[in-house]
């Protein structure tokens, strides 16, 4: 059976993926945000499992994680919130989180729960490629979970090819050398990087993340790739507005 992510990647369109931190702004917002995002026409969702020490994230996602943990979010609570999500939501759902909370939950138990609630993929920024291959690849695959790896402008061609060879969905292309939420707009450097990777003709589609905040950056990021992920800009939107305006946010990107 084809994973929902793989099916989605076959659609002839540029994909918009949205990241949000589960349990933010309020603990019980998770399911509502997911439903609204799907109804707004988003193609894919990354649900952030908050961590106390998010090394790769800038201030916006850090603050949302801190708030979410204060609100009482835990791995168990998140799985509870997602229990019935597949009754209403059809688009691919990924969980994104740092490795320690997953390790403490028990990686196998975590995978089982993901499968149970209908998660399609995982993004674990600090799970090293070699550890994944040695210890977890079989486990993830047995539970129908695609693991998504990151590449950056500094990643060597050889390593990109290796990552491509062990990926089975898409590659998360970090747009620039930075933590999340710190870029404003793309320049020639990014465009050259997007082109360079496009030329490599990888097996896996590339979806760009970090630095996409509006229609313009979404168009730039997807000119040479399959899609783009918006994280910090969406969190900022949730912080500054009411969640009722999620539709407007998505509309401004896609129109």
């Amino acid at each position: 059976m084809m994973n929902r992510i793989q099916t989605k990647l076959k659609e002839d369109k540029k994909l918009l993926s949205i990241y949000f931190t589960a349990g933010f702004p309020n603990l019980e917002d998770t399911a509502s945000i997911i439903n609204q995002l799907e109804q707004s026409g988003v193609d894919m969702i990354e649900i952030g499992l908050p961590f106390s020490d998010p090394l790769a994230d800038g201030p916006t996602i850090q603050a949302s994680s801190t708030q979410s943990l204060k609100n009482g979010m835990t791995t168990e609570v998140l799985f509870q919130q997602l229990k019935n999500i597949r009754e209403t939501v059809l688009i691919p759902l990924l969980l994104m989180g740092y490795f320690n909370p997953i390790l403490q939950y028990g990686v196998e138990a975590f995978c089982e729960k993901c499968q149970e609630v209908g998660i399609d993929g995982l993004i674990i920024p600090d799970l090293p490629v070699d550890v994944y291959v040695a210890d977890y690849q079989k486990m993830f695959e047995a539970h129908g979970l695609l693991n998504v790896f990151l590449i950056t402008p500094q990643t060597s061609e050889e390593r990109i090819k290796f990552i491509d060879s062990i990926s089975n969905g898409f590659i998360y292309m970090v747009s620039s050398s930075s933590v999340t939420g710190s870029q404003e707009g793309f320049g020639e450097e990014q465009t050259n990087y997007f082109k360079r990777i496009a030329k490599m003709q990888l097996h896996n589609a590339q979806i760009v993340g970090f630095g996409i905040s509006n229609k313009q950056t979404f168009s730039q990021a997807t000119a040479y790739t399959k899609g783009a992920i918006i994280g910090s800009a969406f969190i900022k939107h949730l912080t500054e507005n009411r969640e009722g305006t999620i539709k407007d946010f998505v509309k401004r990107i896609l129109e």
Binding site: D126, L150, S177, S178, S182
Partner: protein, 393 residues
Amino acid sequence: MSYNVNIKGYYGEFGGAFIPEMLYPNVEELRQNYLKVMAEPEFQAEFNQLLKDYVGRPSPLYFAKRLSEVYNTRIYLKREDLNHTGAHKINNTIGQILMAKRLGKTRIIAETGAGQHGVATATVCALMGLECIVYMGEIDIARQAPNVARMKMLGATVVPALSGSKTLKDATNEAIRDWINNPVNTHYIIGSVVGPHPYPDMVARFQSVISEEIQKQLLAHEQTSKPEYVVACVGGGSNAAGAYYHFLEDTSVKLIAVEAAGHGIDSGESAATSVLGREGIIHGSKTLLMQTKDGQITEPYSISAGLDYPGVGPMHAHLFASGRAEFLAATDNEAMTAGMKLAQLEGIIPAIESAHALAVFEKKQFNPNDIVVLCLSGRGDKDLDTYINYFKL
């Protein structure tokens, strides 16, 4: 069983490099080069010259006669407190700044808790004329004003870490984020035997000059290069790693690590990671760390800012798990009392970190003929305010 790092960067089951891809090129560059660079004769010559002429090494191995009489054993103090900048931290920063230069880096970043590692980093950056940015928790900046001033005087920029609990672990997070944002020209000088491989091994090697000297100096004092015990305090564990290093594989030398129990192990305000921690991942390393059931890293407490870290280096996690080292914990009170005792018996005011190691003598009875080498990792000048407040001096 080996107690050194293996080829994959692990000490037993601990260690590794659990880092986001954004850090991979930096860490990989270091991993591929650190042993090669350290083995170069010119590197060795420059490193040793600076340790001698600039740091003031070898640091004395001092037989503490009166302390020995009180505890009825033979106590030697390895006087890292007499190093330039007042602690063992400079051994590592000298090594790493030379490494950074060999790798063509022009910008140095560091994290600091109490400010000792920050000062040691700012010092070598001034020495080499390199830009220096030190991340320090906003709360630590407020409680360590003299060290902040020192760093500024040495030309460093001190950046407050405003995230999380605004202390050492958050300063480390901020330094790592800076490195992600500046992957090409910047070297991150980590201050302890923590972080992703190869940092724990590299820092341990730079600090291993401590045990190398202990062997030679003890031979001159006692006609043997082997003490019965080596004792050191452990926060992240860099002075302990240095003091143990050349004794790791010789199990006839017993190793004792003293952690900070804060207000007591069960008080909820403690930093005794070996007792309170579980295996997990912190700052890119699989090790023992203090965390919630859900894997959120918790905030430790100790009167000593240098031991106030929720993890412990992977080497120490392995020494603990394998039983190679005995782990003890000293409360604030036990450490402060031991610090005062050293001042009055030997005329040496120790850093509060080192005072935790000194508390071992109240916790464990050694034989009269035992040679106990204790790493006096730093001097107490920086802690005077804490001593004043504690003893109402």
